[in-house]
């Protein structure tokens, strides 16, 4: 399961108790949301990437140390748990990326998929690396990697197509492919 799906599930279950079903004459059910929740949802919709301050459970420092040792020794589950901890409970993206990479190295298919999705598309090198990790995660049985692999390969195909046809596309866009000169040349 992707981190986006997990996050939406987490938000859904955290919002569940605040939702009550309106008893109206019409058959349509309209949920009633508290003003604070409504504001939060508006903020999330207005700013993509905004994270509401609903946090996950905290882990004690002793348990964190144990998990870190387990993860470094090769446990994919411990590394996954640490990455989700730094994603949801303590928002530290640098540490989250570190533990996602460790989990991917330890052989967790989900983490390999997440790590592969993490690379930006712009650089060719990073695109290759993302395809490497996504293929690894697919071979380890993570079905979610397929869609992202398709996106990466289609981006590659688009780039090649654009390289070949960029001049033609641009002149069609500007409508100046064949600029006819109807005026007579001055003598």
């Amino acid at each position: 399961m992707t981190s986006d799906a997990l996050r939406s599930m987490f938000l859904f279950f955290s919002l569940l108790p605040t939702i009550s079903i309106a008893q109206s004459d019409s058959a349509s059910f309209q949920p009633i949301i508290s003003p604070a929740q409504e504001l939060k949802m508006q903020q999330e919709q207005a700013r993509p990437g905004y994270r509401s301050p609903v946090l996950g459970p905290l882990i004690s420092s002793a348990k964190l140390q144990k998990l870190e040792k387990k993860a470094l020794a090769g446990s994919p589950d411990a590394a996954n748990r640490l990455s989700t901890y730094y994603d949801y409970s303590v928002l530290n993206t640098q540490k989250r990326d570190y533990w996602v990479q460790i989990a991917a190295e330890n052989g967790s298919a989900v983490a390999q998929g997440n790590y592969g999705m993490h690379f930006p598309l712009q650089k060719e090198e990073q695109n290759k690396r993302s395809v490497f990790w996504l293929e690894k995660s697919r071979s380890n049985g993570f079905a979610g990697a397929d869609r992202h692999l398709f996106e990466r390969s289609s981006a590659d195909l688009f780039d090649k197509f654009f390289e070949q046809n960029s001049q033609q596309m641009m002149c069609e866009y500007v409508n100046q492919c064949q600029a006819p000169n109807y005026t007579k040349k001055p003598k």
Binding site: Q94, D97, Q101, N106, E125, Q126, F132
Partner: protein
């Protein structure tokens, strides 16, 4: 065999040439496009040898940040020798948790000589001193390549 004396002379020549070879073999010369484009793309796609070449090239060039980066890629690509080398590098790093991580990579390599790394002392780490960072910086590595 029609000309056995030719075969044996060749074999003897090869044998003595090997014996006369210098202990330090100079690094193969790589073109700029190979270093900056071809090899990184191949290494990022999962090639063992490309990552190995890049790691060794940057080690010879004394660019140890790049060397450590490609060493990790070499290990991630699944080459047992890369895993062993990266484990040895982590063993000498003295960072928090790097000792445990080095054991992970060395165990993963499954090489018969792997347990030797567990006996590494300061003297054996001094041979790897080029690869070790000047300041012991334990911050998690970035996804991007170092410059």
């Amino acid at each position: 065999m029609r000309y056995p004396h030719v075969f044996f002379a060749g074999a003897a020549l090869l044998f003595f040439y090997q014996a006369a070879m210098p202990a330090v073999i100079p690094f193969v010369s790589l073109s700029e496009t190979e270093i900056n484009h071809d090899l990184p793309l191949a290494a990022m796609s999962g090639s063992w040898s490309a990552a190995q070449l890049l790691s060794e090239y940057y080690f010879h060039e004394s660019n140890y940040a790049q060397d450590a980066f490609w060493l990790r890629i070499w290990a991630q690509n699944g080459d047992p020798i890369g895993e062993y080398n990266y484990g040895a590098y982590l063993k000498c790093l003295n960072g928090s948790g790097s000792n445990i991580r080095s054991f992970f990579w060395i165990r993963k390599s499954k090489l018969p000589r792997a347990p030797i790394v567990l006996l590494f002392d300061a003297q054996s780490c001094r041979t790897l001193r080029g690869r070790l960072p000047q300041s012991q910086n334990n911050s998690p590595p970035d996804l991007n390549r170092p410059n």
